[in-house]
Subunit: 162 residues, 2 copies
């Protein structure tokens, strides 16, 4: 039932921000996003995949995306909050695009995610970040792969034939 | 407009699986989830927040959750695929619960995520993983915080008063 996937979307105006070595204690991500929320900066995707119990005490990493127009302010606000957040380094990567497959009841549907990953893998497209939900599976890939990714996913989910 | 959040959900039957030091090349996550999909193992949440360009060439990490009954088979299948995936270590953590706030149009709504993070931070609840989407913001926290997290979020989003 690849039919569960209704479409493929591309979000090309995003900048990937990764805060590395964040103090892995209660309150830290609140400290990252509070100034961004106050400044009305839209954050599209937030992913964190580890915590200190799995990685040791040198902090953990958090990735999120903002619109290109908000990149500089985002970096400034996070740098200003350095003491409160506690981080080692912050990276901004403009060379990303967010590719998503959209549907319903995707949670617990391992097969739907695997089709996406295999389709991109076969095209030699490296996946930089992953976030999943009931209605959407999103990955970040380099800009240069945007069109190839969309075509590969259309084909993998047999969207062209419908 | 905390009213955008309609409810808080708790998913307590989940085991957090983290594959550490995964070969950060095209096809790798496909190799992780293909055997799980074939074995009909439901995967609820998949998060990856880094890729080699931000972390160096020692691989990256991927976290996902499965039901407790599937823990042993999941570990076995991934160990069997070790050559194809290429990873350093795999960790299973049963002491987690997934807490989510549910609503609509949550993407790009930084304020809604920040309320959740601040509420948990104030309770001293450490966030182990984060995944966001248009309809749900999910975090993984230790089992012991399950009830406290739900109460704190109900209060933060003023859900009790409605
Ligand atoms: C790293 C970050 O998520 C931290 N654990 C927190 O709870 O805010
Ligand atoms: C780490 C993993 O996501 C890898 N980059 C892949 O594309 O499969």
């Amino acid at each position: 039932d690849r039919k569960k996937i209704r479409g493929v979307s591309l979000s090309a105006n995003e900048v990937k921000i990764t805060v590395l070595g964040v103090r892995d204690e209660p309150g830290t991500v609140g400290a990252i996003f509070r100034p961004l929320a106050s400044a009305d900066i839209d954050v599209s995707m937030i992913v964190q995949d580890l915590s200190r119990t799995s990685k040791g005490d040198d902090g953990t990493d958090v990735t999120f995306t903002v619109e290109q127009k908000d990149k500089d302010l985002t970096l400034k606000l996070i740098a200003d909050a350095r003491e409160e957040i506690g981080f080692r380094e912050i990276i901004a990567d403009e060379d990303v695009v967010r590719v998503s497959v959209i549907g319903m009841n995707l949670e617990k549907n391992t097969g739907m995610a695997q089709i996406m990953f295999d389709a991109l893998g076969k095209e030699g497209i490296n996946i930089q970040a992953i976030s999943t939900s009931e209605v959407k599976i999103s990955v970040l890939v380099a800009n240069e792969f945007a069109e190839r990714a969309v075509r590969a996913l259309h084909s993998a989910y047999i969207l062209d034939a419908r």
